[in-house]
C-alpha cells in the first residue's frame, strides 16, 4: 500500500514542481512590484498633498474592502469588455500588484507617520531637500516599524497567489485541482500542495519573528 502511494507520488511530483515554480514566479514578481508600488503610494499617503492622500485612501479602502477573488474576476473577465484583454498570467500579476500594494501602502504610511514631526523639522531646517529628508532621516527610522509587518504581509501575499488558480493559471493550487480529478488520493494531493506552500512561507515567518524581536530592542 505504502509502496503504491509512493509510486503515485513520484509519478505526480514533477507536475507539482512545475506548479511550485509558477507559484514562485508569481510570488516573486508580485512581491517586488507590490513593494515598489506600495512604498511609492505609502510615501504619498503620509505626505502633505491632501488631494493625493484622499485618492490613495479611496484606492486602499476599495481594495481592502473587496474580496481578492472578485478583484481578479474584474480584471480578467470585465476589463476585456472595455477593451483591455489580458492573458491569465499577466492578469494574475496585475491583480496581485493592486491588492498587495494597497496593504503595503498602509504599512509604509503607518511607519512614516510614527516618526515625529520634529525629525522632519530638524532635517528640513538644515537645508536637506524633501527627498533627502525622506531617504536619510525618515525612512531609516521608519523601516524599523515597517519591516516586521511587511514581511508578515509577504507571507499572506504568497498564500494569496493560490487564489489566481480561479482564472486558470497553472500554479500550485491549480495543479492540485487538476490532479485530484484524475487520481483518487485527494488527501495526499492537497497535503503535498500545503507542504509546498509551507516550504516557501515558513522561512519568511521565521524572518518576520526575528525582525520583530530585533526591531523591538
Amino acid at each position: 500500500m505504502m509502496a503504491f502511494y509512493f509510486s503515485r507520488l513520484v509519478e505526480i511530483f514533477p507536475f507539482f514542481l512545475k506548479g511550485l515554480w509558477m507559484t514562485t514566479q508569481i510570488a516573486f514578481i508580485s512581491l517586488v512590484s507590490c513593494t515598489l508600488l506600495g512604498f511609492f503610494l505609502g510615501i504619498f499617503r503620509s505626505g502633505s498633498n491632501v488631494f493625493l492622500k484622499r485618492i490613495i485612501g479611496v484606492y486602499v479602502a476599495f481594495v481592502r474592502g473587496t474580496p481578492f477573488v472578485v478583484q481578479i474576476f474584474i480584471i480578467f473577465f470585465i476589463l476585456p469588455d472595455w477593451g483591455i484583454q489580458l492573458k491569465a498570467f499577466p492578469a494574475a500579476l496585475l491583480a496581485m500588484a493592486i491588492m498587495g500594494s494597497a496593504f503595503i501602502c498602509e504599512i509604509v504610511a503607518g511607519g512614516i507617520e510614527s516618526i515625529s514631526r520634529g525629525q522632519w523639522e530638524a532635517a528640513s531646517s538644515s537645508g536637506l531637500t524633501l527627498f533627502q529628508q525622506l531617504r536619510l532621516v525618515i525612512m531609516p527610522q521608519a523601516m524599523r516599524v515597517i519591516l516586521p509587518p511587511l514581511v508578515g504581509q509577504y507571507v499572506l501575499l504568497i498564500k494569496d497567489t493560490s487564489v489566481v488558480s480561479v482564472i486558470g493559471v497553472m500554479e500550485l493550487t491549480r495543479v492540485g485541482w487538476v490532479t485530484v480529478v484524475r487520481i483518487p488520493e485527494g488527501l495526499m494531493v492537497f497535503s503535498l500542495v500545503g507542504i509546498l506552500y509551507f516550504v516557501i512561507s515558513y522561512p519568511l515567518i521565521l524572518l518576520s519573528n526575528y525582525l520583530e524581536r530585533k526591531m523591538a530592542l
Partner: protein, 242 residues
C-alpha cells in the same frame, strides 16, 4: 539682516502673529520672551519658514522668505535652528548627526566634513562623545550636539526655540555657556527663552510678546528694571518670584 514687515499669521481662527514689524541687525542677539501661547516660537519658526505666514513680508539676507517661489534649501542652509526637544537623529552617531547636512547640502567631502564636525564638537565640549548615539547622552549633552549640528553649516544666523526648557536644572548651565560663547563670536542670534539671567548678560535687545503682538522691546536692563507696560511688568514679576 532679518526683517518682518506687517506680518500676520493665523492658526485657524487664532491670530498667532498680529502685525509684526521687526528688524534684526547682523551680529545682534535678540531674546524673545512672553507667556506661553504668545506666538514667540511661531515668530522664530517663520524666519526659516518652518511656518508659513498669511500676510506681510519676511526678508532674510535679501531673500524673500514669504515668497512661495523662494528656494528654501539655500536659505535654511544659512540658518541654524535649535529645538526645545533637540530632535537629534536617533539612528546616527553624534558625528554622523553633525556631518549629515554639510555632506548632503553643501556637498563637502566626507573627511573634510568630519574635520568640521570634530571642531564643532570641541566648541561645545563633547569631543569624547563623537561615536555615541543620542539615546546614550544626557539632555544637556544632546542639546549641545544639536547646537554643534547647527554650527557645522557655518550659518550666519542661529535660532533657538526654548533651548533649555526641556532640560533638568543642573544641565541648563552647560547649554547656556555654549550659547554665551557663540555670542562672543559675533553670531546673529534669536533666542526664545525664559532664562532671564542669560538675557540680561548677553542680549542686545529683549522683545516681549503677548497674544501675537510685540508689546515691548528694549535693552535688557531697561526692560527688566523698568518695564513700560503693565503686561510686561506682570510677566517679569511672575518669572522672577520663582
Amino acid at each position: 539682516m532679518i526683517e518682518f514687515k506687517n506680518v500676520d499669521k493665523w492658526f485657524g481662527k487664532l491670530h498667532v502673529l498680529n502685525n509684526i514689524n521687526l528688524k534684526i541687525a547682523k551680529g545682534e542677539v535678540l531674546v524673545i520672551c512672553g507667556p506661553s501661547g504668545s506666538g514667540k516660537s511661531t515668530l522664530i519658526r517663520c524666519i526659516n519658514r518652518l511656518e508659513n505666514i498669511q500676510k506681510g513680508e519676511i526678508i532674510v539676507n535679501d531673500i524673500p522668505v514669504h515668497d512661495k517661489a523662494t528656494n528654501l534649501t539655500k536659505l535654511r542652509a544659512d540658518i541654524g535652528f535649535v529645538f526645545q526637544q533637540f530632535h537629534l537623529y536617533p539612528h546616527m552617531t553624534v558625528l554622523q548627526n553633525i556631518m549629515l547636512a554639510p555632506i548632503n547640502v553643501k556637498k563637502i567631502a566626507k573627511n573634510e566634513a568630519e574635520k568640521i564636525a570634530i571642531e564643532k564638537l570641541e566648541q561645545v565640549g563633547l569631543t569624547d562623545k563623537s561615536g555615541a548615539y543620542p539615546a546614550q547622552l544626557s539632555g544637556g549633552q544632546q542639546q549641545r550636539v544639536a547646537i554643534a549640528r547647527g554650527l557645522a553649516m557655518s550659518p550666519e544666523i542661529m535660532l533657538f526655540d526654548e533651548p533649555t526648557s526641556a532640560l533638568d536644572p543642573e544641565m541648563i548651565g552647560e547649554v547656556l555657556d555654549v550659547m554665551v560663547n557663540l555670542v562672543s563670536e559675533g553670531m546673529t542670534m534669536c533666542v526664545v527663552t525664559h532664562e532671564m539671567g542669560f538675557a540680561r548678560k548677553v542680549a542686545d535687545r529683549v522683545l516681549f510678546m503677548d497674544e501675537g503682538k510685540i508689546i515691548e522691546t528694549g535693552k535688557p536692563a531697561d526692560f527688566f528694571d523698568n518695564p513700560q507696560t503693565e503686561r510686561a511688568e506682570d510677566f517679569i514679576s511672575r518669572i522672577l518670584t520663582h
